[in-house]
């Protein structure tokens, strides 16, 4: 089990400028972090996207990203996970936002035939010193934008966080809180399976207490009403 110190986060890096990447980058900007984003295709194209969709964020290459980011969010389709430059992330806190989702992405044999959580498979495929944390995979991209609330708001939505490196989990919990969600520690990456598609907490919009309770008894609960744009 990795252990490192909690990190002071000023700068957030995003890999992938799809719907999830854009939504997470938007929350990071709103929370006051410096934001760099790396996407497939020419950097010039990412720069154009960034200038209009995420003003304030900077477009960089995937290779440049680790040099300017305290924490890296991986927001690409899972089928691309082996194509990422993970060898540049040694010792880094990296957040796995990916999901194994055959109905949308097709069958990926290594995930299909394994009993383990998708994040454990990813962890074992990347350098051992990568401090992998799983969160933000179980909330829709519209909801990332529309459900964010200040701390203490009665309709604040909880997000589950899993990781083997407890200091990394604490660090990411701070980011999740700054994004406008209640962080709930669900345990190690193996336990993070409860956040995967098909499990009760996938797509659940629950307050902190209801999320904790669902985690304890495994029963589905009625979602909070659709978040309306705050």
């Amino acid at each position: 089990m990795n252990t490192g110190a909690a990190v002071e986060v000023r700068s957030v890096g995003i890999i992938g400028a799809g719907k999830a990447g854009v939504a997470i980058a938007g929350r990071a900007l709103a929370a006051g972090y410096r934001v760099h984003i790396a996407a497939s295709g020419p950097t010039e194209r990412t720069a154009l996207v960034t200038r209009i969709v995420l003003p304030g964020a900077l477009a960089v290459t995937a290779e440049e990203l680790p040099g300017v980011s305290d924490v890296i969010f991986v927001c690409v389709p899972l089928r691309k996970w082996r194509t990422l430059p993970a060898d540049l992330w040694t010792g880094r806190i990296v957040v796995d936002v990916m999901n194994y989702w055959p109905p949308a992405d097709g069958i990926l044999p290594e995930f299909e035939t394994s009993e383990r959580s998708s994040s454990e498979i990813v962890r074992d495929g990347w350098p051992a010193s990568v401090r992998l944390v799983k969160t933000l995979n179980h909330i829709g991209y519209h909801d990332i934008e529309e459900c964010a609330r200040p701390a203490g708001a009665p309709d604040r939505v909880a997000l589950g966080i899993a990781g083997d490196d407890r200091a990394a989990v604490v660090t990411v919990a701070g980011i999740v809180d700054a994004f406008g969600f209640d962080p709930v520690d669900v345990g190690a990456l193996a336990a993070g399976a409860v956040l995967q598609p098909g499990r009760d907490l996938f797509g659940a919009l629950l307050g902190g207490a209801a999320f904790q309770a669902a985690l304890q008894d495994g029963r589905q609960r009625e979602n909070l009403a659709e978040c309306s744009a705050a």
């Binding site: 400028a17 799809g18 854009v22």
Partner: protein, 347 residues
């Protein structure tokens, strides 16, 4: 200018209820009515699974073409990555000939893996498939013979695909779901774009509309029309519209959601997507007019297509919705958008 239309996936019941043999003739009645009440465009999207009855939109649209005279007929979408561009071009050329020049293709990457599995393509090549096939489809529209080689189909050597369509260039729109890279791709190719929305707010999509226009200019392309597709329904009263649409919409969402491990939504949760400023447009004619005009104010688009007949919406209700959309909603929205544009022009 604002074109108003509708689109559907020809939804059918899974198990009890209306099956494909009943749904497709009903759909032809709906398209004929849409033409009669002056809607500008009707779209049909392909799916290859239970719950949907249109595996080959061009064939069904050709039947609709024989019964209509003015309405434009488009796929919504053609899943180009799992199809053959030559075959797509020929099918829509045939539709163009049947309809005397009213055919359009809306090419999209597709949201489901079924067609990739059926036609032997790997989802791992999802992006590359779409890129290559779009490149070929656009080349085929040009009047000169085509020479092409790619990764996913046999090469073409100086081939002119015949016959040619009625329109000089078959219109090809790019259907996108909100991924910025797809928006930039459409703009860089100088193609019209249809922004597909399922909920969210108009404000959420505003940057995508702006990105599309900025990128079009950035790549030195002339401005192209922007289309928006959304879930919506019109009935005589707001209560009636809600009673018809939200349970049907929930049924559709939950059918797709069940296999994706997404928790089910209630009709009430669906209704919550229809709030002020949202991309849903469910209500009385007056409410839908207000919704579409607000969306136009925020997005500045030129074409609106409502997904009226979702899930188990009945034929009679869909017919009434099309009638109200064509006779009561569209004239008001078109006139107000024209007024806004003339005010804009003299500024």
């Amino acid at each position: 200018m604002m074109e108003i239309g509708a689109f559907t996936f020809a939804d059918v019941a899974v198990g009890e209820g209306v099956g494909p043999a009943q749904r497709i003739p009903e759909l032809l009645e709906e398209i004929a009515l849409a033409d009669e009440v002056g809607l500008d465009v009707f779209g049909l999207g392909e799916h290859h699974r239970a719950g949907f009855a249109a595996p080959a939109p061009a064939v069904i649209l050709a039947a609709a073409a024989a019964r209509t005279s003015r309405i434009r007929l488009t796929s919504a979408v053609t899943v180009l990555g799992s199809d053959d561009p030559v075959r797509v071009f020929e099918q829509f050329t045939a539709l163009d000939l049947v309809s005397r020049g009213r055919a359009e293709i809306m090419a999209g990457r597709g949201a489901l893996p079924d067609s990739f599995r059926l036609f032997g393509h790997d989802m791992a090549d999802y992006d590359a498939l779409f890129d290559e096939k779009l490149r070929l489809l656009l080349t085929l529209r040009e009047p000169e013979p085509v020479t092409f080689s790619g990764q996913f189909r046999p090469p073409l050597d100086n081939e002119l695909v015949l016959p040619r369509p009625v329109q000089d260039r078959l219109p090809v729109w790019i259907g996108v779901g909100g991924s910025p890279n797809s928006v930039v791709r459409a703009a860089s190719l100088g193609l019209p774009m249809a922004l597909g929305t399922v909920g969210g707010t108009a404000g959420h999509f505003a940057p995508m509309a702006e990105l599309y226009r900025e990128a079009t200019e950035h790549y030195g392309r002339p401005p192209q029309p922007l289309g928006v597709t959304l879930h919506g329904f019109v009935a005589d009263t707001s209560q009636k519209a809600a009673d018809i649409y939200f349970p049907a919409d929930a049924a559709l969402f939950n059918m797709i959601g069940a296999e994706r491990g997404v928790p089910p939504l209630t009709p009430a949760a669906m209704a919550a997507k229809n709030g002020p400023g949202s991309m849903y447009a469910v209500g009385s004619p007056g409410q839908v007019i207000e919704k579409l005009l607000h969306q136009h104010e925020v997005l500045g688009h030129q074409r609106t297509m409502l997904q009226l007949a979702v899930g188990p919406v009945s034929h009679l209700d869909a017919m009434r919705a099309i009638e109200l959309l064509g006779t009561e909603v569209a004239p008001v929205v078109r006139a107000e958008v024209a007024r806004r544009e003339s005010v804009e022009a003299v500024r």
